[in-house]
Amino acid sequence: MGKNQDLKKVIIIGSGPIVIGQAAEFDYSGTQACKAIKEEGIETILVNSNPATIMTDENIADKVYIEPLNIETLEYIIKSEKPDGILAGFGGQTALNLAMRLKENGILDKYNVKLLGTGSETIKKAEDREEFKRLMLEIGEPVPASIIATSLKECYEFVEENGYPVIIRPAYTLGGTGGGIANNEEELKEICQRGLINSPIGQILLEQSVAGWKEIEYEVIRDKKDNCIVICNMENIDPVGIHTGDSIVVAPSQTLRDSEYQMLRKAAIKIIRSLEVEGGCNVQFALDPSSNNYVVIEVNPRVSRSSALASKAAGYPIAKIAAKIAIGYSLDELKNYVTQNSSACFEPSLDYVVVKIPKWPFDKFNRQIEPLELR
């Protein structure tokens, strides 16, 4: 199969300024993506407003636009550059949201631009809570009881049925901005109101809490031939209840039995296959420490902070391989760039332990008023 020969010119969307929840990891993934595509002889056009990045350097992409990341700018650039494809899976939630809006506004179709890698249907299924839940139930993967609410009334009704605590998460926001855990009516009201405002589409997810369960992540790659491999799994030392970005994380997982590891691995692969992700994907599970029960918490159909960590932890360049898959290659056609002589299809194995600890800005901001964000 190999590279898609129709692709002569591709736009890559960056992640914009460094904010909490979207940091240097997208300079890393974006730089890798640019290099991986450029070396195939495809003209690369990069758009990013962040001047401190390496990806906005003259020698990374063929053309660099340091311009605001919004629909207007992107349409202008699409119009003048006439690219064949657009790559949105390497610039975090910012890039993914922009690509979805370009698709919905008909701009991609109007200028005949293909969304490369994971398709818009898949992104929608993974990002839209309702659709995601439906798909999970369809394939028999457990998810916590939840509803999508667009009003406070629906929130109250859900709690009446399922009880406290409940987790509230606004749809389409960076790393869950404006979410939290409500233990009583007062908190419920406050967090839901805030979430409804913060979500660009005015939707929030209310979910039964699985706080205290083990939080386990799998980094998976899939190609369009349906080859799937697990790059690395990771275990949060802090159980569900603390955002994974604020958790101490260890790779590979240390406290799972082999049967548990295999159960979740199988589930991760089943999920990425049913979503038909083409490229990198992060699947987060909550595992009940006292039974074999687990639930799927979240799926990110793109490279993420976790995949940057998994890349470095496993020695496997996830973004680079995901970019190659986006332009048509399959895993069996690619080699492992680290070892040079094995296939990219080969799952890494680790003979060491990796620990990640977050760096917090509490030297600047008072700590007593800054408990870690719950989810």
Partner: protein, 689 residues
């Protein structure tokens, strides 16, 4: 999520990987103990463990030290008992080191568990020289393992290593000439991705010069730790022990500390003392730039002015220093990153409060009190070869002094400076760079008050502005710095010396704050940096560049509507013209009580709205923009803070400086008459005719 960045550590056991990661954090701890937690009562400790904040791991370790059972800790934290047992292993080993004589065997075990030398010395109560001797005599050094993706199952050669204390060394050491670059560690406020940019460019330039490039860093998010960036990557803590171990193993020609931010520069002294060759600006020069007394003496020698200041060690001294200098004064602790705990103080009362509450002050931890000079802040970055300098461009801050350079809107090229001032800036920069024997990059911040130019700060290293200037001027600053370090002269390069002619474009850097995440932080502009990132607005037209900067930073730009104004008294007079400009632009004014009275007295039409009512107006969508210059910040109880927080929640532009509010008018005008906005590649701007 509240973390700005992360560190990663690789090792053979969980215990050693955890301890290595802790030393990578650059916090007060190198092991699992923090003094503030060890001083807690049992009750306080239990609350701390329950609160699940960033210090929980230290609190859990302290709990184990005090005999709290693993069962109890698991019940409170739900952390798996396996992890708790591992933390207990570390705590038990601390006791072993305390109670047993340090034998060679015990030292080996301590090293392999991840304890650093300083902590082993402290626990075992031996001095460092003894430890060093034990290490040397018994060759107790780490070996390096390869991250080969296959656990050694196949033959693989990767240039990606981590240290551990075992027997077999997998490290392949080449005989080539090598240069080691020290990275900047985790992303944090005040030390961001720009230093990764510099590190990576440093590596590329080293390769071009024909050396093998080696990098040490611990941040998994970055390009510098990609395994195909440098010829060799050590994924290691940037703690001095770990860095020295790599240097012992590799024996590089030299080490570069000026690209890795303050993290790397802070290692310079120890590296220098241990006889490691530092490439570029030497430790003695770094020391002069960072030591107040030596620095003022140097400036005096070359006849360049700096704001007068004193170093004080108690309240009495602080008050009399401020008296001598005259208020307002700028106060801060010495040796900090990103203006931490820095404040402009206008009166005795605030100064007393600052000294008593905000900072630790003692003989060893002096506070710096400087005369605050209000004026235009100017940033000059240069490459120096020791004799000549090259300045790719000068940047001017929109906000006057008192706002941290990382948080101010910064403009290239300067828009208000006369040729005469620029000539002087070039002259001063050269004099300082040469006097400091700078080889490589230097960043100097100046203030110009309309009469005189003062030097505020000199950083003998890469700065936040290096990537921006390199891009908008086309001058590869980091590469030229590396060239200078290996002995090349600027005058022999294509770029020459002096100030590069301004490019035919405007670049406006706008800071971005993570206010939505840091919901309890007060994001007002002050001398302490709070922004996490930045964007750049580029255009051939200045107003459009300003507009693009604000748009890229995520501002919704109102074309018309209501402006809510709440100013501190000192700003009334100056605020008057600004408010008139907003009225001329078609906005209606709502103002807080004091401000409204003043405006009405000056015949300006406005509605009086208390801060409390303003909150309601925000929720109802009746306010489109806020100008609020705070009297006193840092307290979450003030109504000003609530106003700022509410504005952030509703995504309404809020400015805490008159200067930002003023320049925002340009963006408003562009938004209103939006036409002809073009988006171009960097090259098209640079080579525009």
């Amino acid at each position: 999520m509240k973390a700005t960045g992360e560190v990663m550590a690789i090792d053979r056991s969980f215990e050693s990987a955890l301890l290595k990661a802790v030393t990578s954090l650059e916090v007060k701890a190198t092991g699992l103990w923090l003094n503030s937690i060890m001083e807690m009562s049992d009750k306080e400790l239990e609350d701390k463990i329950k609160s699940s904040d960033d210090e929980r791991i230290f609190a859990v370790a302290e709990g184990l030290r005090r005999g709290v059972t693993i069962g109890k800790l698991h019940e409170i934290t739900k952390i798996d008992k396996w992890f708790l047992n591992k933390i207990k292993n570390i705590v038990d080993f601390e006791n072993k080191l305390k109670n047993e004589k340090l034998t060679i065997e015990l030292l080996r075990k301590a090293e392999s568990m991840g304890f650093i030398d300083k902590d082993i010395c402290e626990l075992s109560m031996i001095n460092y020289e003894e430890l060093k001797k034990m290490r040397e005599e018994n060759k107790i050094y780490p070996v390096y393992k390869m991250v080969d993706t296959c656990s050694g199952e196949f033959a693989a050669k990767t240039p990606y290593y981590y240290s551990c204390y075992e027997d077999e060394n997998e490290n392949i050491i080449s005989d080539d000439k090598k240069i080691l670059v020290i990275g900047s560690g985790p992303i944090r406020i005040g030390q961001g991705i720009e230093f990764d940019y510099c590190t990576v460019h440093g590596v590329w330039a080293i390769k071009e010069e024909g050396y093998q490039s080696i990098i040490i860093n611990n941040n998994p998010e970055t390009v510098s730790t990609d395994f195909d960036t440098a010829d060799k990557l050590y994924f290691e803590s940037l703690y001095i022990d770990n860095v020295i171990n790599v240097i012992r193993e590799e024996k590089p020609e030299g080490v570069i500390v000026q690209f890795g931010g303050q993290t790397a520069v802070n290692l310079a002294q120890k590296l220098h003392q241990m006889g490691v060759k530092i490439l570029g600006t030497q430790f003695d020069s770094i020391d002069i730039a960072e030591d107040r007394k030596k620095f003022s003496k140097m400036l005096k020698e070359i006849g360049i002015a700096a704001p007068k200041g004193e170093s004080v060690t108690n309240l009495q001294e602080a008050l009399s220093a401020a008296e001598r200098l005259g208020y307002p004064v700028l106060v801060r602790p010495s040796y900090v990153i990103g203006g931490r705990a820095m404040e402009v103080v206008y009166d005795v009362e605030t100064l007393t409060k600052y000294i008593n509450e905000a900072v630790n002050i003692s003989e060893n931890r002096p506070i710096l009190v400087d005369k605050y000079i209000r004026g235009t802040e100017i940033e000059v970055d240069a490459v120096s070869d020791g004799e000549d300098i090259l300045i790719p461009g000068i940047m001017e801050h929109v906000e006057r002094t008192g706002v941290h350079s990382g948080d101010s809107i910064t403009v290239y090229p300067p828009i208000t400076l006369s040729d005469e001032v620029i000539e002087k800036l070039i002259k001063y920069t050269k004099e300082i760079a040469v006097k400091l024997k700078t080889i490589g990059l230097i960043n100097i911040q100046y203030v110009y008050n309309g009469k005189e130019i003062y030097v505020i700060e000199v950083n003998p290293r890469a700065s936040r502005t290096v990537p921006i200037l390199s891009k908008v001027t086309g001058v590869p600053m980091v590469k030229l710095a590396v060239n200078a370090m290996v002995g090349k002269k600027l005058k022999d390069t294509f770029y020459g010396t002096g100030l590069v002619k301004n490019k035919n474009l405007y670049a406006v850097k706008v800071p971005v704050f993570s206010g939505e995440k840091l919901t309890d932080a007060d994001i007002y502009l002050g001398p302490e940096m709070k922004s996490t990132g930045e964007v750049l607005g580029l255009d051939g037209d200045f107003d459009k560049a300003v507009y693009k900067g604000f748009v890229a930073a995520g501002f919704k730009i109102p074309e018309k509507g209501n402006v809510y104004v709440a100013l501190k008294e000192a700003d009334y007079e100056e605020g008057l013209n600004l408010i008139k400009d907003y009225i001329d632009a078609g906005f209606k004014i709502q103002a807080s009580c004091g401000t409204a009275d003043y405006l009405i007295k000056n015949n300006i039409d406005c509605i009086k709205v208390t801060l409390k009512d303003a909150l309601g107006n925000i929720s109802r969508g009746n306010i489109d923009l806020i100008i609020n210059t705070p009297t006193r910040a840092n307290s979450i109880e003030t109504s000003g803070f609530k106003l700022r927080k509410k504005a952030l929640e509703y995504k309404i532009p809020i400015f805490t400086s008159l200067d930002t509010s003023k320049i925002f008018l340009k963006a408003i005008r562009v938004e209103r008459y939006k036409k002809d906005i073009k988006y171009k590649t960097l090259k098209e701007y640079l080579f525009r005719k």
